[in-house]
């Protein structure tokens, strides 16, 4: 393959951004200038260069962060450096929301208009921004854009301001107002001083260990209202430990699980996880121990551990909280998994909209490397394990495990056909353990206390503590830790109940891919088995409470638009089906059905079944679930 490049030259700054990730070019062939003859004839291409394709997304991020958009010259330089055809670089770059392929203002406020924020006035906020700042996406110095769920649902309406530059900075404003956003965008300084007392704000350049413990606990309590509760197991350290300090983590019982894993050895560690009956917390509820066991049994020696931190299900923010405030627990869980399965390399794939979690994780990874808990010899075991953080770039579909692998590998985030399953052929075609953040953060708990003790928590079918993301019409939204079996009503009561004693209309369980339940479900115990029997799902732990003021037809339409926007476009049922579903709801909402309303509902039923049966992955398979449940409950009819 010869690269055919016609996009012009990259600027010095663009080259510097790429070289900062890949190192200087090693040959003139790969874009080097002023090299000695020996360097010129050094590594010039071939497999060694193409094996670096997994650096493609990090490189595109570096360009986006520094320049604010990706020029054709810059993309050509990326093609040259990584030996990836320019059409494929274009295909990958155009896949992600957070990458701009045409000149864009260096400061962009990504304003969430997804379901949780809609309940708290996101649409009015967008309307005001349109009046005061102009239409979305326009402006040369700063602009604003609508965004799907930013995972800040406990403090809706939320926005994330990203500023390109050296270094790039970010500022999460939640809850926010149009005035505050305008001030944040128009202030010439890129410091974090514009944050108000109600906003969370960090910069990639700020240290994470600077805040004193009392202010840290206050900050954490905005996301975890009962942080510090002595009954907490998973959240026990959240708010109490300095997330950048290995010593502090150790002082709070950290690494007891890893120490036990080392003492037990691989087989007994896996047996302990199987005994705990821990199942995946990302939504699919697959037994974690079985997954590890399957990978450990593979004949291929090269294996990978991947943490799925691409938490993008609307209404979900628990993994963000864990990554931000207890990052060592995740590292400990992944290291234990690596020792148990024989993996020597792992990846944390974090969604791109979580810059603070990224900063805290990077700091924790550096501390763990310095403390010999990662690296060529993990805690004196002789076993090497390295862990890399990778950032997503705005694509819900990359939370699908095989799409996530493709994204890490530098390809478009399109799901793969299964079988083969990741335990056989996952990342780079090798056996791979892929687990959610909460799942991996539960592992140290299991190893430290014993699998049987973990299994004793909760119910027979659903063991352990579970995090719930409570948002919407409750007095104290946030992440709540409960034992499986807590009823929906009890959980809502812990979050302060519906303010003003307004009547509860419905609860969305499991996010956009979940389903609505009515007030009669308040007595329902939140367990996997009880929800399955009730035809609902716990999914990623979303509990979005909707009172009589919620505009339910509008929310349901937003869910349909979410899937329309987030479909990868690979398979026909999902690519076109999500569009037809959205159009159909639009006709129902406008009162202009094709034929009768019953005809439209029959059509939606057929569409839903075809998407459920014939889509490649879970996105298409669940794209109608919430909408169908809303229709069953009559939520699209006018509010009482």
């Amino acid at each position: 393959m010869d690269l055919h490049l016609g996009g012009g030259a990259a600027s010095a700054e663009e080259r510097a951004a790429v070289d900062a990730v890949l190192g200087p070019p090693t040959s003139r062939w790969r874009g080097g200038v002023d090299l000695t003859l020996a360097e010129h004839f050094g590594l010039s291409g071939g497999n060694a260069v193409r094996a670096e394709r997994h650096r493609l997304l990090p490189v595109l991020h570096a360009l986006q962060d520094r320049l604010g958009w990706l020029s054709r010259g810059a993309l050509d330089y990326v093609s040259l450096r990584l030996d990836v055809p320019p059409a494929e670089v274009w295909g990958v770059a155009s896949f992600y929301h957070l990458l701009a392929l045409s000149p864009q203002a260096p400061q962009v406020a990504h304003v969430c208009d997804d379901i949780a924020c809609r309940l708290r006035g996101a649409e009015a906020l967008c309307g005001e921004l349109e009046r005061t700042l102009g239409p979305a996406g326009q402006g040369s110095e700063y602009t604003w854009k609508r965004s799907p769920c930013l995972g800040l649902c406990e403090a809706a309406p939320a926005a994330l301001v990203l500023r390109a530059g050296t270094p790039a900075t970010h500022q999460a404003l939640a809850p926010t107002t149009a005035d505050e956003l305008r001030a944040a965008l128009t202030s010439t300084s890129t410091s974090t001083s514009t944050s108000t007392s109600t906003s969370t704000s960090t910069s990639t350049s700020t240290s994470t260990s600077s805040s004193p413990p009392s202010s840290r606990l206050d900050e954490v309590r905005r996301a975890v209202p009962d942080a510090g509760d002595p009954d907490h197991l998973l959240l026990a350290r959240v708010g109490r430990v300095d997330p950048a300090s290995l010593a502090d983590y150790r002082a709070h019982g950290g690494f007891a699980g890893l120490t036990r894993a080392i003492a037990l050895g691989p087989e007994a560690t896996i047996a302990e996880v199987i005994t705990s009956r821990l199942v995946g917390r990302g939504g699919a509820a697959f037994p974690t121990g079985k997954k590890w066991q399957a990978v450990a049994a593979q004949p291929v020696r090269e294996r990978f551990i991947v943490c799925n931190a691409d938490e993008s299900e609307p209404g979900t923010f628990k993994d963000r909280v864990l990554c931000e405030w207890d990052p060592f627990a995740l590292i400990e869980g992944m290291t234990s998994a690596a020792l148990a399965t024989g993996a020597s390399l792992g990846f944390i794939y974090l969604r791109g909209e979580y810059p603070r979690a990224a900063a805290h994780l990077e700091a924790a990874l550096a501390a763990a490397r310095a403390g010999d808990l990662l690296g060529p010899d993990v805690a004196g075991t002789g076993h090497g394990f390295e862990l890399e953080l990778r950032r997503g770039a705005g694509a819900y579909i990359c939370g699908e495990e095989t799409a996530l692998f493709n994204s890490i590998e530098g390809r478009r985030g399109e799901p793969r056909a299964k079988p083969p399953f990741p335990v056989e052929a996952g990342l780079f075609g090798r056996p791979t353990v892929i687990n959610n953040v909460e799942t991996l953060a539960s592992v140290p708990l299991i190893l430290a206390r014993g699998g049987a003790a973990f299994a004793a928590i909760g119910t027979a079918g659903s063991t352990g503590p579970k995090l719930f993301c409570v948002s919407g019409a409750v007095a104290r939204p946030g992440v709540y830790e409960a034992r499986f079996g807590v009823t929906l009503g009890e959980l809502i009561a812990r979050a302060g109940g519906v303010p003003g004693d307004r009547p509860l209309r419905a609860v969305l369980l499991g996010g956009a891919a979940g389903s609505f339940v009515g007030p009669e479900a308040l007595a329902l115990p939140l367990t996997l088995e009880a929800l399955r029997a009730a035809g609902a799902t716990l999914g990623s732990g979303v509990v979005m409470v909707l009172d009589d003021r919620a505009d339910l037809p509008d929310l349901v339409r937003r869910i349909a638009r979410f899937f329309r926007d987030e479909s990868c476009g690979q398979c026909v049922p999902c690519r076109v089906g999500t569009v037809r579903q959205d159009e159909l709801l639009g006709r129902l909402g406008a009162g202009t059905p094709l034929g009768s309303v019953a005809d439209e509902r029959a059509l939606l039923g057929e569409l839903a079944q075809a998407m459920r049966d014939a889509s490649i992955c879970g996105l298409g398979q669940t794209a109608s679930a919430a909408i169908e449940s809303a229709l069953r409950l009559g939520l699209l009819e006018a509010s009482p």
């Binding site: 016609g6 059409a87 479909s567 990868c568 049922p573 159009e583 057929e606 014939a614």
Partner: protein, 307 residues
């Protein structure tokens, strides 16, 4: 035999032609298609099993010469024990699989998929698809006249940027075949890839530059695999535009490419004494359906001069 070292007489030929040692036949896999037992070799797909059972399965993104991408989902079948339907083209047959190819679930999914395609893409030059729409009683009009069409993301007019072939993405069903043929399954040129996402996903060169500015080498292997006529010889496109494309007046002739010594099989489509299209049989041992620019486009000068 001469003593002079520059002369060499080959040893006499062996009396019999050497053959490769017999390989054991792959172990057969027994599956059931619509209640009928079928035996296929190990490694065969459910699509192979359906063919062996004499069941015609619609396919769109499948080609025998390309890696299955299982994106179109018209070949889905019902596999006992599976939560969802499975793509016949990619799913390997395993012993004891029980497959239904005409169950209500299969018929519904195939029908809806064909309707979704019909409502978003111009299928007028895809006769197979139109035939399957009839077979499954698909009615794309059910989605109304306001249904968005797939070309919203790009210019709707036909891309005519070179003298050899045209691209009409209003007819593209995004089967990925052209990308595979241009890329690692055949040509290794990588001039085109899938860009964008969701309903806006489309086949594109980098930044949608015209083909002459891309890496395209005009082998035309993408036209060979396109199932809907979205990629078309310019000769065919022009004849269709002039209303003079007439399949009834065409002949197909197999011949060998005259240009080099490889010996590629060409199938010439001739209308009014002119070669209007050149394909190669996908099962031709030399080409597997692939040609180069000379075989594909280098014969159109044959024919009477324009008057």
């Amino acid at each position: 035999m001469s003593d002079d070292a520059i002369y060499f007489n080959p040893p006499p030929r062996s009396a019999h032609t050497p053959t490769a040692p017999a390989r054991p036949a792959p172990a057969p896999v027994e599956v059931t298609i619509d209640g009928r037992p079928v035996s296929v070799p190990t490694g065969a797909t459910l699509l192979d099993a359906c063919s062996a059972a004499g069941v015609e399965t619609p396919t769109l993104c499948f080609a025998s010469t390309l890696t299955p991408v299982n994106a179109c989902r018209v070949c889905v079948v019902e596999l006992e024990g599976a939560r969802t339907l499975v793509p016949a083209c990619a799913r390997k047959a395993e012993p004891g699989m029980k497959v239904l190819t005409d169950s209500p679930r299969v018929r519904l999914s195939r029908k809806v998929v064909l309707e979704l395609l019909g409502s978003s893409v111009d299928l007028s030059t895809a006769p197979d698809l139109l035939r399957w729409q009839q077979r499954y009683a698909a009615r794309p009009a059910r989605f109304g006249s306001g249904a968005a069409v797939a070309t919203v993301a790009q210019q709707t007019k036909v891309k005519v940027d070179n003298a050899l072939y045209v691209r009409d993405y209003g007819k593209c069903v995004l089967c990925y075949k052209c990308v595979e043929a241009c890329g690692s399954d055949a040509q290794h040129t990588f001039a085109i890839a899938v860009a964008g996402r969701g309903f806006h996903a489309h086949i594109s060169t980098e930044a949608d530059v015209p083909l002459p500015d891309s890496a395209c080498v005009y082998c035309g292997n993408c036209i060979q695999v396109c199932p809907t006529g979205a990629l078309m010889f310019k000769t065919e496109h022009d004849l269709r535009a002039a209303g003079r494309w007439d399949p009834a007046a065409q002949t197909q002739t197999d011949t060998i490419c005259p240009y080099c010594g490889v010996g590629c099989t060409l199938t010439l489509t001739v209308q009014d004494q002119r070669i209007v299209k050149v394909m190669s049989p996908p099962d031709a041992p030399v080409t597997r359906g692939n040609l180069c620019i000379k075989g594909r486009f280098g014969t159109t000068f044959v024919g009477p001069e324009d008057t």
